[in-house]
Amino acid sequence: MSENKKMILPHKVNEKDFLNAIKEFEKVVGKEWVYKEEEDINLYRDAYSPCWDEPQEPIPSLAVAPKEVEEVQEIVKIANKYKIAIFPISTGKNLGYGSSAPNNRGDVVIDLKRMNKIIEVNDKRNFCILEPGVSYFDLYEYCEKNNLNVMMDMPDPGWGSPVGNSLDHGWGYMYGQYRDHFGAHCGMEVVLPNGELMRTAMGALPGSKTFAENKYGYGPYVDGLFSQSNFGIVTKMGFWMMPKPEHYTLAVLTVPKRDDLIPLVEIMNYLEDSSIIGWPLYRSPLNPEYGKAMNPELKSYLTSKNGKPDIDKIQDYALRNKIPYWKIDIPIYGNKDSVEANVNYIKQRFSKAIDGAEIEVIEDYDLPLTKEQKKSLKHKVTLGIPNLEIFWLSTRGENFAPKDGHVWFSPIIPRDGKELLKCQEIYIDTFHELGMESMITPFSHPRTWMYRAFCFMIGFANSREDKEINEKMRNVYNTMVKVAAKHGWGDYRAGPVFQDAVSGVYNFNDSILKRFAEQLKDTIDPNGIIAPGRGGIWPKRLRGEKND
């Protein structure tokens, strides 16, 4: 620690105890793996923080990087001894929801990136067992090197990890059952807040041969307790993987009218829930290509009805210019014959129900793909190929400056066209009332990762330069949480700054869900050391202090 710099301390821990704890951490993992210099600690800040450089920005006091499970257990014991809050991360790439920063200023980050063993990948029974530090890139490389016939469902950025992503309820891009990353996990090993090691489900049976295949073992299913929460440090997880298909096709559906969305979603739901199609990507071609400006005529209709959008004019503009109102990319997996039959069936279903619906096949490949095909693939993640191409969405465009990042507002709404159109209207009204340009238009599309619901997301820009922008954004975000809740929509995930607000609207019966979680927290983690406040769950010693 540089002498003159003001040291960040863990909350309610004095400097002497903290320095002693550091020595003990160093004994466990080795000096090299305890990061205490300011320049090192700063690398654990949230690059997309909505409160960058403000006093409440959650900067850790220390980061400790264990390699083995036993070290994690020792770290937890030391944290208990000194009542130091610790915050586990796996790969720490949770950008938009907190990055590698903890929930509170001063929490000690336990960086599990060095725990990166691929324990098993089985391409006959289609599962893998991984440590937290294994990234999607690592796993892909391993499977390709070993010529394994399985693929992992992944989020858009490939540098995160199956363990970290699933523990924050992340989502991906293949068949529904794989897209739900927490849902596709099977079996867990966890270091509990007292340092004991627990294996869940089949893992509880010593010598069990189905750790990653049967989710339940016997008795209560407790795995859910360890996601978006603070009941332990997960050190191993099993996941179900999808066998590589023999054939892959990407079909594109277009429809001419806004209201076509209503029958369209119904049919799409049928196709998805019958496993005929993979992840449908909804878009509207009325949105300009990234970086380009919107057509000025169209833009003028966004506010031409007393400051609000004129939907008839927008629809008329689309029809006149022959721009389809909605466009959906549809991946289809199988063998050549089944894929072809499914494409025909899909064509039939849509053209019967929607006037002017058109379907075109734009990619049609036998697997394995050639290098060139892999490179040119429109949606690499739909075939489990990790990449970072999604970062286009915050880069510089021809017409605007780059963003510093974004903070996701991610409410879940029903998978229903009418509800989506209503949701657009409510958001537009809210922006109007706030006197801001609406970030939502009558052609904003739903996100479709959660296969039984839509997410209607807004990516608010954050700034590392301008605190006012961040403050304003936090206010809008918090307003949106309330507006959404009033209509029965709740966020699926949120960054640390918003977790109390988001969990706060899940308050049925005098917030019994929260009270139940708190009761568990006090029993399992009486010293309140693991990730205080994560998921809106505070330990007794901090309750009411930080979350008002």
């Binding site: 690059a47 980061a63 590698s100 970072l388 880069t395 510089r396 780059p402 963003k403 510093d404």
Partner: protein
């Protein structure tokens, strides 16, 4: 005299070997962490092609002739716009030095 020359050749050889190792390590770091955004056709390259429009400067980092070592190190540890900074557990100081060496010497 002969001894001295031999020694010099020996050390220069070592220096070259060191540089080769450093260069190779730098490329490995680039391929692991940077290429996914800074490769040809990738988002950071697209963004830089707007910045360097109408100039001689290539938006592809691996094609650049004038990249400054300390600038590379600064950006990796401080981020730039939506590019986040990298922790030492991801890219340690030695790897970062190699990366900067690789990018700053590749086309010199």
């Amino acid at each position: 005299m002969i001894k001295k020359t031999l020694l010099l050749i020996f050390f220069t050889g070592l220096l070259f070997a060191n540089d080769t190792n450093k260069f190779n390590e730098g490329k490995q770091v680039f391929d692991k962490w940077c290429i996914h955004c800074h490769g040809v056709g990738m988002p950071a390259t697209d963004a830089l092609s707007i910045v360097y429009k109408d100039t001689e400067i290539s938006p592809v980092l691996e094609e650049r002739k004038n990249l400054d070592k300390s600038f590379i190190e600064y950006v990796v540890r401080n981020g730039r716009f939506s590019m986040p900074f990298f922790r030492k557990i991801e890219i340690n100081n030695k790897q970062l030095e190699s990366l900067a060496f690789y990018l700053s010497t590749k086309n010199r």
